[in-house]
């Protein structure tokens, strides 16, 4: 059997943690190999080694059978290895063509882009990528940006393509497209390593799956002949239930009442239009909608990150629509934000500092203006053990060095620990492994059962359907309707998301 890539006995240690412990994987020509593993298992680290971002402490890498030395991404690129990172590396005010040729511009005084542009158009056609070479990055969707990253690899003649959680930021429609693109790539003879937490995707596109747990390879399985349950169990080390266990809720008082809300978006048009919604204690209300239909603006308006144009937002009987973010948080709103790097974390702060980010001024964590380091540490230890946040140095870990999933778990833990009346959870399980998703879902239901109001925003219909007591569907900033979670199905919600009205308007 021909392997295009073999990584043999790779070891990589970080302070306090062995991220890769004697890992060996191999990739056949023309296959999709999935890497499956818990948050912090060491997948991104392994791929960063292959791509030349880290040097391994031990072990060797073979490309097409011969041992190679990859010390930086240029080496990797020369060997035909390309990588799409979870966070894209594009220049926003450059055109797509400019972004793709960046770093390998044609020589000469005046850069002539016509040849490059032609080649990009050609590649785009060949792989059905459908990108406009002249559009600026800032004006295109996330899905298109990702396709630009793919084109960037292809333009550099990559034969081996690494995708690190490519679907975490995509809408369900975009995910389907990406799966098709991957199959096209395989048909053209490329080989792919795919990191994802979504077992369904592995089932859809992967040929084999290597399971990693705590830095070690557990097994490599044939995807066709293994069930999702088995793969999940191998990864987490215990049985995983895929459905959410949840009894009937007992809705109580109204916690949040939004009436006739209008909010402008960044393009200075109304992103939320005449929106009204009530949420009671003891219920989970899910907001379903295609990405970019006003969910972000709605949440920002409730939390105070964005000014409203008109309407009212009543929390526990008081209008909070003109209050500061701090005030709203003090009155019982906590918020798991959509973008954990932009809003949720100070990446250069330690974990324990991040866990008191919003509450540092409170009596619990400070006295006379001095931070109470003991209670800060206690608080961190509680969240870390409660939410199984894994990292090298515990409370002292710099958050930037934590794995994406563990960053997310830390945020979720922090927000739940604030014991809010209203918990706003936007994509709370983005980037989490199935075991952690199960756990976070349990905690959200538990919040509901203890009489909190939970507002859930997710692009994943399954998550909305599994968790919500009521589902509010939003389209173009308008409320299409509200339906009961147990009396609806994917089809109905799908139609409503497309703007077809159903259900009662409250």
């Amino acid at each position: 059997m021909d392997y295009v890539i073999e990584m043999v006995n790779i070891r990589k240690e970080f302070p306090g943690i062995v991220a890769n412990d004697d890992i060996s994987i191999n990739l056949r020509k023309g296959e999709v190999l999935a890497l499956l593993g818990e948050n912090g298992a060491g997948k991104s680290t392994l791929m960063s080694i292959l791509f030349g971002l880290y040097t391994p402490d031990r072990g060797l890498i073979k490309v097409n059978g011969s041992v190679v030395n990859i010390t930086n991404p240029n080496d990797a690129s020369d060997l035909g290895i390309g990588m799409v990172h979870q966070h894209f590396k594009l220049v926003h005010n450059f055109t797509i063509t400019e972004n793709i040729i960046l770093g390998m511009e044609p020589k000469g005084i005046k850069i002539d882009l016509t040849d490059a542009r032609e080649r990009i158009v050609e590649l785009s056609k060949k792989y059905n990528l459908n990108v406009d070479p002249d559009a600026k990055i800032e004006n295109v969707s996330v899905g298109m940006q990702q396709r630009v990253e793919i084109l960037k690899m292809l333009y550099r003649n990559a034969e081996i393509l690494i995708f690190d959680e490519p679907t975490a930021v995509l809408t369900p429609q975009e995910i389907l497209e990406l799966m098709k693109i991957m199959r096209n790539l395989i048909d053209e003879g490329k080989s792919i390593i795919l990191i994802t937490h979504k077992l369904k995707e592995i089932k859809q596109v992967a040929d084999r799956c290597t399971v990693i747990r705590r830095g070690k390879v557990i097994d490599t399985v044939d995807v066709k002949t293994s069930s999702l349950e088995i793969m999940a169990e191998k990864m987490v080390g215990r049985k995983v239930t895929f459905s959410v266990e949840k009894g009937d809720g007992i809705p109580g008082n109204e916690i949040l009442e939004i009436s006739n809300l209008n909010v402008y978006n960044n393009r200075k048009v109304l992103g939320v239009k005449d929106f009204s919604l009530k949420i009671r204690s003891g219920e989970i209300v899910g907001i379903a909608g295609v990405d970019g239909n006003g969910q972000t603006e709605l949440i920002e308006a409730i939390t105070g990150l964005r000014d409203i144009h008109s309407g009212s937002i009543i929390l526990n009987g008081q209008d909070i629509s003109r209050l500061s973010i701090k005030e709203r948080s003090n009155r019982g709103i906590s918020h798991i934000p959509e973008d954990r790097h932009k809003h949720g974390l100070v990446l250069d702060y330690s974990l324990e500092e991040n866990l008191i980010l919003e509450q540092v001024e409170s009596k619990k964590f400070s006295k006379n203006g001095f931070i109470n380091k003991i209670s800060m540490r206690d608080h961190a230890n509680k969240i870390i053990s409660d939410f199984d946040v894994r990292s090298g140095m515990g409370p002292l870990t710099i958050v930037r060095s934590m794995s994406g999933g563990n960053q997310q778990k830390a945020i979720v833990g922090r927000e739940i620990f604030q014991n809010p009346d209203l918990l706003i959870a936007v994509q709370p399980t983005r980037g989490l492994d199935v075991g952690s998703i199960e756990y976070i879902h349990k905690r959200l239901v538990e919040q509901r059962d203890s009489g909190k109001a939970v507002l859930l925003v997710s692009l994943e219909l399954d998550e909305i359907l599994d968790l919500s007591d009521r589902i509010a569907v939003i389209n173009s900033g308008e409320l299409i309707g509200v339906v009961d979670g147990d009396k609806t199905n994917e089809n109905e919600i799908g139609l409503m998301m497309a703007g077809i009205s159903k259900g009662d308007k409250n």
């Binding site: 402490d57 973010i325 250069d348």
Partner: protein
């Protein structure tokens, strides 16, 4: 972990070493013995109790401007305006020192406060411009430097003209001076003054603010990531303004220690070089208060020793400045040093494995 924390220290020490080596080569080029040159350079800064006093006096303003730049930097702001803030602090302090006739224990706090307010105001304006109109603080602070420059050019000849010279103010009286007899005597007539205590006190206070307080926590958070600071309910604009005011106040205080301590009057036509050297101090000190303290004292030695070196050998005193410049250059391009240290670390790790 531990070795990573000490990284900035290594970078600084290696920069210093490389700077000294380069300086030695230059001395050799001018036909002198580098070893001899360095002996005189350090002797000049440290040889006697008086010279140590002078070194500390030279370092005083540098400690404070370095601290000012470092503090701003830690909160995400680049303060190029230390020079203007120092000048305004000096002007306000001198103005009150010359105008008020009060006993020393009353007058000193007043002039110091004036310096802090003057410098603080010069930080406040760029802070407000940044918070309100998103004017970059580099542009605003440079502009404020020149406004301070011209304000002094106008105010000193108009109101505080010296007995003989148009270009400088009258000398301040004993009661407004930071020099005190016991300290001067203790250091054998050196021009060391109370400023050094103020500088060290400021270092300690700022270190505590940055590392232990809610205020420091929030200011740094804003510096690292405005969006998440805002999300967490912090008042981003207030914090930007506050950072600039504190940074400005520290430079203003530097002005008081310089014009009322090291010197005894204020001249027109110069932006004090300490303001710009403060950037170097902060850089080499890795933006830590204690790092700034150590660096400023080291620079103080070079500054005050270079005259002696020049007197005892034929090495031009500019070599002292050149060494400082080279050290800064190495510190600024510390990426190379980082790579070097990484290699060493990997080597040690490899050796231990075998």
């Amino acid at each position: 972990m531990n070795s990573d924390k000490l990284r900035p220290l290594w970078v600084a020490l290696i920069s210093v070493l490389l700077g000294l080596i380069a300086g030695g080569i230059l001395m050799a080029f001018t036909g002198n013995n580098p070893v001899e040159g360095y002996i005189y350079l350090f002797k000049g800064g440290l040889m006697s109790i008086e010279r140590i006093g002078n070194t500390l006096a030279t370092a005083t303003a540098l400690i404070l401007t370095g601290l000012s730049v470092a503090f701003a930097f830690r909160t995400g702001l680049f303060n190029i305006g230390a020079s203007g803030q120092m000048l305004m602090g000096g002007l306000c302090a001198t103005a009150l020192g010359l105008s008020l006739n009060l006993p020393k224990p009353v007058l000193l706090p007043i002039v110091l406060l004036a310096a802090i307010i003057g410098g603080g105001l010069w930080g406040l304006i760029p802070g407000l411009l940044k918070a309100r109109f998103n004017v970059h603080e580099v542009v605003a602070t440079i502009m404020m430097n020149w406004i301070a420059f011209w304000t002094v050019n106008y105010a000193v000849p108009s109101f505080f003209k010296g007995e003989y010279l148009e270009t400088e103010s009258r000398n301040i009286g004993v009661n407004a001076s930071l020099r005190v007899e016991w300290l001067t005597k203790l250091f054998n007539g050196s021009y060391i003054n109370l400023g050094i205590f103020l500088a060290i006190l400021s270092i300690i206070v700022i270190a505590i603010i940055l590392n232990r307080t809610v205020l420091g926590f929030q200011l740094k958070a804003v510096g690292f990531n405005k969006d998440s600071a805002k999300y967490a309910g912090m008042n981003v604009n207030r914090n930007i303004v506050l950072s600039m005011v504190i940074a400005g106040s520290l430079s203003g205080l530097a002005g008081a220690t310089f014009y009322l301590g090291y010197a005894s009057n204020i001249q027109i036509g110069v932006l004090p070089s300490q303001g710009f050297d403060g950037i170097a101090v902060a850089l080499l000190g890795a933006n830590s208060p204690y790092g700034a303290l150590a660096t400023a004292i080291f620079f103080g030695i070079l500054h005050s020793g270079k005259g002696f070196m020049n007197a005892m050998t034929s090495i031009p005193p500019e070599i002292g400045d050149t060494i400082i410049a080279i050290i800064i250059y190495f510190a600024a391009t510390s990426l190379l040093i980082h790579k070097f240290l990484d290699k060493i670390k990997a080597f040690i790790k490899g050796a231990r494995k075998k």
